[in-house]
Amino acid sequence: MTYMNALKPLCFAALTATAVTLCSAAFAAPAEDGLYAESFAAMKGKKVVYMPNALGYDLTEGWLAGLKNEAARLGFEVIVRDPNWNIDAGVQAMQAVVREKPDLLVVQPPDVTSYSRLIQKAQEAGVPVIEVNQMTTAVPDVFVGADWYAIGVANGEAVVKACGQGSGKSGKVAIVQGLITAPASITQVRGINDVFAKHPEIKVVSNQAADWTPSKSNSITTTVLQQNPDLCAIIEAWDGQAVGSATAIHDAGKQGQVFLATSGGGEKTACDNVANGSFTHYVSFDLWDQDRDINNLVKLFLQGKFSPGKQKLALYTPNHEITKENLSARSCWTMDEVKKSGG
């Protein structure tokens, strides 16, 4: 008898739970409009592999923060594979992706070729591929990222304006590339060279690669400034490495005399560097925009029935040119903001 008594509340609880579940199934979504329930259900529990070339810097952390925000809202899972600049580790992680077959791969390739073969294999295995910021020779389903050519052109034109005809300057320019096999660097330099080809008064006195590291950029720029005290401008392929050049210019006592043009995702440090005169001209491919683009594509791919490898689409991020004159509180973002509400 006591046994039955003890069971009573349990039975009651079970009945109530069943009733609640049935009711909620009948009135599944608060605003069923023919898509709501279906789209949420399509995304829930899906697996998205996110593979940057390394975590730990503004761009890759920002993309991840945006993805995570939407994943938390929509219930898909973000699996992070961080090869940490190591291409071998990256290739292994890509092979794992081909084996594990997640629902989507979001990858930032380190260079043009290393992942190409594996990106094709992933597509053949049924995994759609979104490439971020850098393209491989294998064409992904979608490319989202900076328009590197336009960035090169924008910085090239800014330099021509500052150092070209009528400026009274020497016209001597140094280019500090990133990693020479990285599309971000290659395409930018192409843009820069196309602009300079129309301006014979501009003379590229040095064209060296700093492998995305500030210390290397620092020693290159120190040497170049030594050789060319009348250097007019430096174009750096990325803000993360450009701080090296900025320090070299500062140490040579030439801040304000040498025009430093660079580009990046528009994190707060970059705007600070524009404000304090370290960067003269900054092209921002706004990471905030990219986060939205990436997330929109992720949502489409998780809901849709796309056949991987068939669509060839691209979303090039618009550029914003930032100088001391047009700098505003809205020009840049902070990591805390992106973590809170990015994507």
Partner: protein, 334 residues
């Protein structure tokens, strides 16, 4: 009289060029070549900036040399530098007083050296494997627990730090002076202290050193602790010169550059040979090479080819001049 001459003859049978001489000569030749080919090379200010750009590499090479002379190798030197300094910058940026942050950074470096030294001296694991594994461990541990950012910037308040990196005393950049000072200290340590002499003894023949009563294990531990702490110092110089510490340095070819300086300078990888003069000669040669190639705007890939060939040449010369001692060679030696 004739006996005296005979002794002198025995001591100096006939003059043979050592690697140090060859390096010094090569450096001179390169200097003349670049002075002719690269515009802007032959000027006092360029030579000064040339030395500045390799001074950090030079300090790392000093750290490496002390280990190599004792017949070891420290492949964890770059991760040790990066993690200890990136962590101390993180602490400092988080509001910790500078001296405390630096002490903690040095402490971490010293502990890494201690662990490595212990494994090599007491657990008898060959240095090359110990330090290779330790490098990966230190980097992984640091990335996971200590430092979250890829590039760690010095906070704005670190004015003094920046000053140290950019000041010049009598036209000589402070970084070059620090390198000079370190070189002097290492030289005095190696030549005039018992521990320094023991390192040579140990490198020349570890078994004989042990039989002679030298506490070989303590000296081995000392070498690795010294190397790690010096590496942390080189990291502080980097932070002072570019206001930041980039984690990506670990993935760069820096460790090869360090070995290049050490080997090219003529410190035999078989141990017991060479000194600080060799490190300076090697550093200057690499400095001239890099600076000259940058001034001539030689493409990056070609620069690597040149550097690779020079390293290869240096190793060949090293093997010819310092042949392996069959009696004392052991497995794990390089």
């Amino acid at each position: 009289m004739s006996q005296g001459r005979a002794v002198a003859d025995r001591a100096r049978p006939h003059w043979r060029p050592t690697q140090e001489h060859i390096v010094a000569l090569t450096a001179c030749v390169l200097f003349v070549v670049f002075a002719g080919l690269a515009p802007g090379f032959f000027s006092v200010s360029n030579v000064v900036s040339l030395m500045r750009s390799v001074s950090i590499l030079g300090v790392l090479a000093l750290a490496m040399s002390i280990v190599v002379i004792g017949r070891g190798i420290d492949l964890a030197i770059v991760p040790t530098m990066v993690i200890s300094v990136a962590f101390l910058i993180t602490l400092y940026a988080g509001g910790m007083p500078a001296y405390l942050a630096i002490l903690i950074g040095l402490g971490i470096a010293a502990s890494i050296g201690l662990i490595q030294g212990w494994l090599i001296a007491y657990a008898d694991v060959p240095a090359i494997f110990t330090t290779l594994a330790m490098g990966v461990t230190v980097y992984g541990f640091g990335l996971f627990f200590l430092v979250s950012k890829d590039v760690n910037y010095l906070p704005k308040e670190a004015v003094l730090f920046r000053e140290v990196g950019s000041t010049q005393i009598a036209g000589v950049p402070s970084l070059v002076l620090i390198f000079g000072l370190c070189a002097l200290l290492f030289h005095l340590f190696l030549k005039f202290t018992p521990w320094g002499r023991f390192i040579y003894a140990l490198g020349d023949n570890p078994d004989a050193a042990r039989l002679a009563g030298i506490s070989v294990r303590h000296i081995t531990v000392l070498q690795y602790v010294l190397a790690s702490v010096t590496a942390c110092g080189a990291g502080l110089m980097t932070a002072a010169s570019v206001s930041s510490m980039s984690m990506r340095i670990v993935n760069s070819t820096m460790i090869y550059d360090i070995l290049l300086v050490v080997v090219i300078g003529g410190i035999g990888l078989t141990g017991g040979k060479g000194g600080i003069r060799n490190v300076i000669a090697g550093t200057v040669l690499i400095g001239i090479l890099i600076n000259g190639m940058t001034l001539m705007d030689i493409a990056y890939t070609s620069q690597n080819i040149v550097k690779g060939c020079v390293l290869l040449l240096a190793i060949i010369i090293d093997t010819l001049l310092n042949p392996r001692d069959e009696q004392t060679a052991q497995q794990g030696d390089i």
